[in-house]
């Protein structure tokens, strides 16, 4: 069977049949990006991104079953070939991927066990959370902040005001990086001539993932928490193999391998209502013997205030220890120290938001804006733009050639 019929069959299976199953939901979305920078073979001036997502949720007695599948069509090199990649371990996105496949059942009335592939959301501070930042992201779209689900087992429960959560992730799902050397991941390596091509090696991540424990307590207007984790850090470290560089008539080609460090981390989190503000804070310490990663002490403080249907959120985050390598190569810590201000507002017709992120080390930044208009309850159109700016060696300023506008049309069911 050729690849096209296989895709057609899978797409057919993704189509919703609400009449057959009430627990089906999902969406189809077509998104287009237009870039301000000049087009070339690796970075076209326009990119299309189509998504078909369907989710099935069912209750079987006291157990909750959920499965979801995503099919995509991307016109850029960010899309890989169709492959069996159930844990998202390959360097490029497969056109078909399983996003949810889990079961949750009660061990006792207040203790749940969840098994399978699902997404985690940790932390308190919204703009930047050290508790949440280690969870794998897909940076194929560097401005989307898209999380990747994990294969994991999670035991969670509540006893009075105390909640707890233990997570074991037996398989590493790594961060997915954009195609290295493109506008989404420009690499500026010192003493490397212009025109050098970086050849990405699809290094297999370690099999075993991480284990983590989180305890939360709510006392009046205080929400408190502490967590710890140990295992493989899913954000890769890049090894530029200059020793394996190949000189061709077109220029130099340098293989780039990925390495995954072990890391131990522990942190505390709190939030409190102070007058009309909600103040949230996190502090975390990370320890690693890896020469390129080193230790880190990361803090984040955010304050949120509602203004009717609008919300203002400001966040300040930083790392007290200078990393041994360029912070841009550490991904989850790339923008630190940073100041983030976000404003979002719900309107009768939809919503809009503005986000300004500025790196305090280099003064570079990113302005994002988006307006969503609900045509009906199931049709929605979204337009927006991303404007990275500033110092070109800063983590955000380096993306200046990725300045773009986008528009999307979504049908939900």
């Amino acid at each position: 069977m050729t690849r096209l019929p296989v895709r057609l069959i899978i797409l057919f299976l993704l189509l919703p049949f609400p009449a057959l199953a009430q627990g089906i939901s999902g969406y189809a979305e077509e998104k287009g990006f237009v870039y301000g920078d000049r087009s070339n073979s690796r970075d076209p001036s326009a990119v299309g991104w189509g998504t078909l997502f369907t989710k099935w949720e069912e209750k079987a007695g006291e157990a909750q079953l959920t499965a979801s599948v995503r099919a995509e069509w991307i016109t850029s090199d960010e899309q890989g070939s169709l492959s069996f990649d159930p844990a998202d371990r390959k360097i490029r996105r497969s056109p078909i991927s399983v996003q949810d496949l889990w079961v949750r059942f009660p061990v006792s009335p207040s203790v749940d066990l969840q098994l399978g592939r699902f997404q985690l959301g940790w932390g308190k501070t919204d703009g930047y959370s050290p508790a949440d930042a280690f969870l794998p992201r897909d940076l194929s779209d560097p401005f989307a902040d898209e999380k990747i689900p994990l294969w994991a087992i999670r035991l969670s429960g509540q006893d009075g005001a105390i909640r707890y959560e233990a997570v074991g992730c037996p398989v590493t799902t790594p961060w997915r990086l954009p195609v290295l050397g493109t506008r989404n991941a420009p690499l500026s390596v010192e003493e490397v001539p212009a025109g050098t091509v970086f050849s990405e090696v699809d290094t297999a991540p370690p099999v075993i993932g991480f284990a983590a424990l989180r305890v939360l307590a709510t006392v009046n207007e205080w929400d408190l928490g502490a967590w710890g984790r140990v295992g493989v850090r899913p954000a890769p470290l890049l090894d530029f193999r200059f020793d394996q560089a190949v000189s061709t008539p077109a220029g130099l080609t340098i293989p780039v391998e990925r390495r995954y460090a072990h890391e131990e981390g522990a942190g505390v989190e709190l939030s409190r209502i102070i007058g009309s503000w909600i103040v949230r804070g996190e502090a975390a310490a990370f320890f690693s013997r890896d020469r390129d990663l080193g230790d880190a002490v990361i803090g984040a403080l955010s304050a949120e205030k509602g203004f009717g249907d609008g919300t203002l959120l400001i966040t300040l985050a930083g790392n007290a220890i200078d990393p041994p390598v360029d912070e841009s190569l550490l991904f989850d810590r790339a923008i630190l120290p940073a100041f983030i201000a976000a404003w979002n507002r719900t309107e009768e017709w939809g919503e809009w938001k503005m986000v300004w992120t500025t790196g305090l080390r280099h003064g570079d930044g990113l302005l994002k804006g988006e307006v969503g208009y609900n045509i009906t309850d199931i049709w929605k159109i979204t337009v927006g733009g991303e404007l990275p700016y500033g110092y070109e060696k800063g983590p955000l300023g380096a993306l200046h050639t990725a300045q773009r506008l986008h528009a999307a049309l979504r049908l939900s069911w």
Binding site: E57, Q64, G121, G308, D377
Partner: protein
């Protein structure tokens, strides 16, 4: 005759003081009446638990219609209520959860919102309680049951609403009762069954009501009166949200873990 004679010789200011005394005595005696009526209403309509499914229709000033669905569970009543709401429709808000737990005394309840996209809950500050509740004309404070203990109340008189004679009661939030979005509420209690039929809601500085809640289609379910239709109108914006209640049940046992943050964070859960 005797009375008339006795007033005849009084100076004007004495007559005025006497009249004012009668007036203030009237107010003083009206306040307990209003309180008594509200207590009576609470006693009559208090249920241990309540659950229902709601179909919402939001119509904006241009006539554009949006529909939503939710499931609501409550344990306790008014000042000791715990409330969980989970949206079921449309897809954009499906799975969004709202948990409200009353706090002892007159403080504002603790409120959290669960957003499936974030996979975790977010606490709602008292100030945020004026924000639209998931795109409806209800705000977060409107989602709480009226607790008369948090208000200074006074009986204003009587008025007919939808053909039913009603007590009209003014309720002004007490400062120690937590921050309220509203400066004043006027309640219309149906006289025969002491049931709330209408609320006129005044935000700070408003001389006319900015919002109006009308409760109708009263039915007796499990021995309790319940309005199966709620209409919240934003009189300034010109929009209206209608909630139709179905699958109503009272005093059914609720699982002990239903009104917990653990349950609020259960993706796909009630």
């Amino acid at each position: 005759m005797h009375i008339r004679r006795s007033y005849k010789g009084c100076p004007v200011w004495i007559a005025a003081v006497a009249l004012l005394s009668v007036f203030f005595a009237g107010i003083a005696s009206a306040a307990p009446d209003a309180r008594a009526l509200l207590k009576e209403s609470e006693n009559r309509h208090r249920t241990r638990t309540q659950q229902y499914a709601g179909d919402l229709t939001v119509v904006n000033k241009d006539g554009k219609v949006r529909k939503k669905g939710w499931k609501s569970f409550r344990e306790g009543y008014a000042g000791d209520a715990k409330n969980l709401i989970r949206f079921t429709d449309p897809p954009e808000v499906k799975g969004v959860g709202f948990l409200s737990i009353s706090r002892p005394g007159l403080q504002n309840p603790d409120q959290w919102l669960y957003l499936p996209s974030m996979k975790r809950e977010r606490r709602i500050a008292a100030q945020d309680r004026d924000a639209s509740f998931v795109g409806t004309d209800f705000n977060y404070e409107d989602m709480e049951e009226f607790d008369h203990e948090k208000y200074k109340v006074a009986l204003q008189g009587e008025q007919t609403v939808e053909g039913h004679p009603c007590h009209v009661i003014t309720a002004i939030p007490l400062e120690k009762g937590g921050k309220s979005v509203y400066e004043k509420k006027i309640l219309y209690l149906r006289k025969d069954i002491i049931y709330l039929l209408r609320e006129d809601l005044y935000r700070k500085g408003e001389k006319e009501p900015g919002k109006r809640l009308v409760l109708s289609d009263l039915q007796n379910v499990d021995g309790h009166w319940v309005a199966k239709k709620w209409e919240m109108s934003d009189l300034k914006k010109g929009s209206k949200t209608t909630v139709l209640l179905k699958e109503i049940a009272f005093d059914r046992p609720q699982p002990g873990s239903r009104f917990t943050l653990q349950n609020l964070n259960r993706e796909g859960g009630d």
